[in-house]
Assembly symmetry: C2
Homo-oligomer: 495 residues x 2
Amino acid sequence: MRDDTTIDHQTGDAPLPGDGTPYRYQAVERHVTAMVEAGAIGLGDRLPSLRTLSANLGVSISTVNQAYVELERKGVIESRPRSGFFVRRPAVRLPRTERAESGRHDGPRPVTRSGLIQTVLESVGRSDIVPLGVIAPGVELLPRKELSRIMAAVVRDDPARAMGYAPIPGDPELVRQIAFRSMEHGMATAPDEPVVTAGCMEALYLALRSVCRAGDTVLIQSPTYYCFLQLLETLGLRAVEIPSHPDGGVHPADLDRALCAYDIAACVLAPNFNNPDASLTPDAAKREIVSILARRAIPLVEDDVSTDLHFTPTRPGTYKQFDRAGLVLLCSSFSKTLAPGYRVGWMLPGRFRQKVLEIKATTNVSTSAPAQMAIAEYLRQGRMERHLKRLRTAIERQMDTMQLHLGRHFPPGTRVSHPAGGAVLWLQLPGGVDSVELFFRARARSIGIAPGAIFSTGDGFAGYIRLSCGAPFSDTLHHGIRTLGQMASAMLGGE
Amino acid sequence: MRDDTTIDHQTGDAPLPGDGTPYRYQAVERHVTAMVEAGAIGLGDRLPSLRTLSANLGVSISTVNQAYVELERKGVIESRPRSGFFVRRPAVRLPRTERAESGRHDGPRPVTRSGLIQTVLESVGRSDIVPLGVIAPGVELLPRKELSRIMAAVVRDDPARAMGYAPIPGDPELVRQIAFRSMEHGMATAPDEPVVTAGCMEALYLALRSVCRAGDTVLIQSPTYYCFLQLLETLGLRAVEIPSHPDGGVHPADLDRALCAYDIAACVLAPNFNNPDASLTPDAAKREIVSILARRAIPLVEDDVSTDLHFTPTRPGTYKQFDRAGLVLLCSSFSKTLAPGYRVGWMLPGRFRQKVLEIKATTNVSTSAPAQMAIAEYLRQGRMERHLKRLRTAIERQMDTMQLHLGRHFPPGTRVSHPAGGAVLWLQLPGGVDSVELFFRARARSIGIAPGAIFSTGDGFAGYIRLSCGAPFSDTLHHGIRTLGQMASAMLGGE
């Protein structure tokens, strides 16, 4: 999945040949995991000594040690004093999620998931709930001190700018930084195209209000982020769903068929690591989709919020970068990477910029100035890329650990997504387990999850759940996953 | 207009008997202004010496001196070395604005002012435009250092709270503080009723979306804040206007007649210091209006954003305080008093709280956490009332100065409002001066004003302009007013 070749800073080793992980200890870790999964080393078996494995793999002893420590942290192996390391349990990874066939359905539907979604959203900002439901990076992974120090400095240095209204399109320095980053990501963005918003949600809201009217039909991929559905519902829009394939994202042919069959006012698509199924639409398909939509002059609202969390060596492309007609409204934010609570996101609204500004002005005039200034300064100081690199590594590790624990605690027959980015896992529960029922049982024990039902207007995902991997793995999360697994097993047994 | 009896801290004098201004020097100032206005002292005349006036009025010499300095600052008198103070110009105050009869019209109208309004709004956050168009308190009047210091402290002390999502209804401490202040202002607010929003505009937006659907008709007072009209337009709502009387606000009988004639989904009313005409609806009328609406179960969206800027000794009442049915959605903010750019406002949404939260969640999830925390802490430290008192005094003085300069520079026949609160003046230009034309001419010279046409769906206010008094009086403002006056005179002469 990855093929960059960063040197392991802790050991100084060169990368293992043929393995694409950025750190050598991770390559060792995968090597050992593969041996366990293949049954080459069984439950209770002793692992090769540090010295032996070091010699066999041609890496330093400290690298092997780091890999063993990591595997112990994940619960795969355990150290016994004066005896070495032993396999604690088989490192079972669940098989991949499959596409729910019954999730496909025909015709526009009114959206009516609001009640359940609101119940799920009640855990936003609540620290008493095990954070597997709402996606937000654990605050431990965010540059808290750095950003807080910058915030303190910018409001002190320029209190007038912090207290006065920012211009409607956003703080000029932040607009400049966003335009610059977008160009770096391959998009032909004019320096004044970006519009700063209060998070990606507001960007999506502004985009939909700019291109649709109540009663219109919007094409979405299925499953899709539940907040879109709630947004469609509150705006009185109807949805036509086309499948999101776990391994290929949106197929242009599916889109084309839907456009022929229905009067579609706009599309809402996630280019990469679609929330919840982590599907990625290949760049060739993106290009084709943009071209199909351009022929019909249909706007595309692009939710690009997950792309910065790619585990792939390079950043996958966006729909926007293939857009020549100004029909793509790219929406993104700093909420999944830098500071959820600051509520700062942005749009590249293409030809709809004036309309977007009009709606922004009548929604809340402009975005909170201190938050914009702090993030602008953070970007200006060039801190973002280093932070993102650290964050991606951390989230990939968390996801890896979660997958191992899911394999240990969930009933046989459970399947899970194998994402190449993003911060969520999408679980397909074995037959008979209703995710809404599981959601309410978990909630009664202060565990937050997102039931599959809220990710579609249809019933295709009744047996799925989405788990957030944003928070660093902890005893609380471990306990939460064990409890969920037990509940799912009990429900499978008819309880 | 005022009858509290604060001691003048600079002179230690007791108040002048029979005068209601809080400071003795202001009483002296009014006494002198009255003499000038009455013609008792004419242009070029010498004023009584400090000693004489001090003896006559029974106040200290320093109090008289302070009054003279203030009058000199306003351009009413001038000091000549070794000669004393002289009347520089007659202190002409323009007569009061009258109600534009042609502003009344029948039947719901679609709202179509958006283009012009957006042109007016383009000056938001721009420091290169003379700030007479957009209302915002001058940053010099805001507790910049205090609030910036608090912001720096709260993000440093609790970075996790600042970076994580705030709960959808708002930061709990801020919600508590807002509930407490609302109770102090006579409203029966439950501790968990407030919903924090990104400014008053967002509160109004959430309120209208919670109680209306596209195509509905909303009753508004005329003239009304132009951003309401733009909001109605973007939400596809129609407007029925009833008169806002400069001296009595909204008459219950007018409201009742409109409700009988049209199918009204909701009302939007400003209880006090209506923007732009500064009208105040008496509390008895408020009570009657709330009761008429309760009989028909029609929601009332109350824009309470100006009330904190009362020059009256006590805070006038709100519609909300007479509401027993939960039909009033009070909307307000800290933007006109504390920190416009922070974008923090609130609602007391009554029985519509759930719906409001649903729309807030799909608009931008929650309000920027650092801004909420800083304002919560500012309130918690009990700093707000002292600041408001200072701010009100400053704005009243600015308005006073503006009125004198308007009298000096605008053509005869011009009328102006005499507000008891708020931060705007409403000018009625003599016949033949078109305010939209004046707006564009002023804009070409980087002077911002708000033309009357944008405050109504009808044509009744084509000859009015609104001037903001938020910024401290300065040479720039003086120059702006003089230029505007010259332009108006030229237009009156047919240029």
